[in-house]
């Protein structure tokens, strides 16, 4: 579906394909307002994030420093991660 997914030969995948209980490292976040908003919550390149649950449809609940944050599916499919 997404160019990055096919072309990317490294282990990098999109956050949307992570599963509950995964520990992932954020690799890249697209530029824009969301990037700043995510930074405020502590989500940025290099940060380790724990996936708590995934709703049907793809809305993701992640945990970062004991803080639970829900991210919409249309955002998670733009964030590149690497599984640990």
């Amino acid at each position: 579906m997404f160019r990055g997914e096919i072309k990317n030969k490294s282990k990098n995948i999109f956050l949307s394909s992570a599963n509950p209980k995964d520990l992932v490292v954020i690799k890249s976040i697209p530029k824009g307002n969301y990037k700043s908003q995510l930074l405020r919550f502590g989500i940025f390149e290099g940060q380790v994030v724990e996936i708590l649950s995934k709703l049907p449809g793809g809305t993701l609940v992640i945990r970062i420093n004991r803080q639970e944050i829900a991210l919409g599916a249309n955002l998670t499919k733009k964030i590149l991660i690497e599984k640990l």
Partner: protein, 732 residues
Amino acid sequence: MNKLSNDQNHTKKDKKLQIALVGNPNVGKSIFFNYLTNIYVEVSNFPGTTVEIYHGNYKNYIVYDTPGIYSVSSFNDEEKVAKDIIINSDIIINVVDATHLERDLFLTTQLIEMGKKIIIALNMYDELKKYNLKIDVKKLSLILGVPVIPTVAPEKKGFKELEEKISEATNGIINKEILKELELLKELEIPTAEKLLILEEDKPTIVKYAEKLNDFFIGKFHFDSHSFKRPKKHLRRRHHHGFNKHRYYGNYIPENKDEELTSNFQRGFHKKHFLKKIMRHYLNRDRIYLLRRLYVNSITTKVISPIKGKESISKIIGNLIIKPQTGIPISIFILYLIYLFIGVFIAGDVVKFTEGKIGNNIFEYNLKKYIAYSSSTLVTVKVKNENDSIIKVNSHFFEYGIKNEIDKFHSLENEKKITNSEIKFTYSNPILTILFGDFGILTMTITYILFLLLPLVIGFYFMLSILEDSGYLPRLATLVDKLLSYIGLNGRAIIPIILGFGCVTMATITTRILGSKRERTIATTILQLAIPCSAQLGVIATLLASVNSKVTIIYIIIIFIFLTLTGTILNKFIKGESTPLIIDLPPMRLPRPINVFKKTYYRSYGFMKEASPWFFFGALIISIMQITGALDIAIKILNPLVVKWLKLPEHTAIAFVMGLVRRDFGAAGLYGLPLSSYQVLVAIITLTLFVPCVTSLIVMFKERGPKEGIIIWFSSLTFAFFIGGIIAQIFL
């Protein structure tokens, strides 16, 4: 805002120092504010509250409470308001949630970088145990360079110490990396706080200092024809974006033959291109945010240490709500409870008493009678039997008011007492009709606002406050996020949609919480077109009760399909992209009753204050239409449409026009009419989709602007008759 800045100027003269209470949402700021000033305020902050600022006196200070924010910026109204207060304050009490230090220190370090005098209240210190954590307070204070006082707000623990140390608030130690960035604007003569905001690409601040920034950048980087120098290496960012001196400046700027001309030329020139390029080149919010984030993380690893323990119950409940298997049944159960509370208790029992008894029978009746006492009035009594049909009509014209023929009036009044009948006063004087007639500003509108709307609004805000304070609302938003994404909204939009079932006007105002103009347009359209408000729902339910359940099911399906289709189509054709859901899920906890009551009070008050004038305005329009005969003309125009196209009895047209006054009036007008099952279906579908009440229309025009307002209004009218008609053609 103007009032605020006036206040501030005023206080500057009096030399009273200003304290601002600043913190992330739901950290307990307002408990501190109440303690210091003894003024009642809203305790936590969730988008949906209209931004109101509270301030009060404390010793020689003026204390301002600010909305909860994650950082000082301008992403939304709350942030803009908070930013203004922070910039103008002398001392900042930064309330920090000890259990979410990583999140909250982001704001703290930013405040320090702004060069503000700060003292930190490390709140919820007792809850650290629940998370099995320990914080080294001394170390934290040492690193940040400001006093840090552990507090437990509900128990007022640590408040005394905080009070004693307010005067010790100091400028903290600024992160070295940020200091380097600030160096860029060193010679710019504006407050440090705003320099930081400029570095963070804060648009309002850049606009505020546009002239100064222009001159500053020209001076600093010698951007004239030949002395253009490339900035130093560490300042050269986004270089790869094609920043090319010749392309942008070199060829355009004449040599200094005519100085005035040159500078004018430069000004005119860079207003369009130059400044933008420079800004893009040197200012980078993401970079600053990243530096700050890294710094905060380095601090927290130094001060937080884990201790052993187990997971808390509130977390387990929180997880159950989000998981669909358990979350959907829980949500359905909660929605059912809401329905029982608002739909059955408030909209039924409470409103029946307040509107019917107090509003109509006591307040309006006596007021109308009092006016009729000495003015020329036609009094009509419609005597009804048990089946609500009129058996006889008595009327009498009191030319000089009822005081002259008081016995005659009493005999009319007695007829009303015996049976369940209506008594109607028609004044000869048009001004009296506007003020005290059936749609009178001082009769119907007051009854409507005080005795029907107010109980409903209080009920809804009460429920919303409980849902919010318990931590349920953000989880519900998460659960429905995907569903709402099909119609171009994110989970947050569930709040105005729920409120819409209470009062569309209230919900239309609440669409302000949505992230983009696009989402606000979609949500408003759906609210105005397809969401029936509580007043209407009551009547629709009554009408549906009289016909078979098949009609109910068809009604729900049609409205649902229409809602989904409208949303999907709007989502497809409105330009732009909707904002994704990014929502903080606070721990589930029992709401504190005091907070819930305060919130309910302030929200209801805020809404009534904002919306009431428009209800009066709407009533005035309708009254004028009634007197000038415009209302009758509208009914005449609608008549053929109603009879031939919708295949409904002639009188239904009146019901539709009355629906403009209040949607429920329209539906209620159908009570007395002999309708078949499918005629009921056609009528309620048309009414649901039909133009909402005048007030919601005015508020929509105000929120969305005249152009969008007219489009939404017009499509509401068209769809109502189009779809109603199609149903009529199919079933009748």
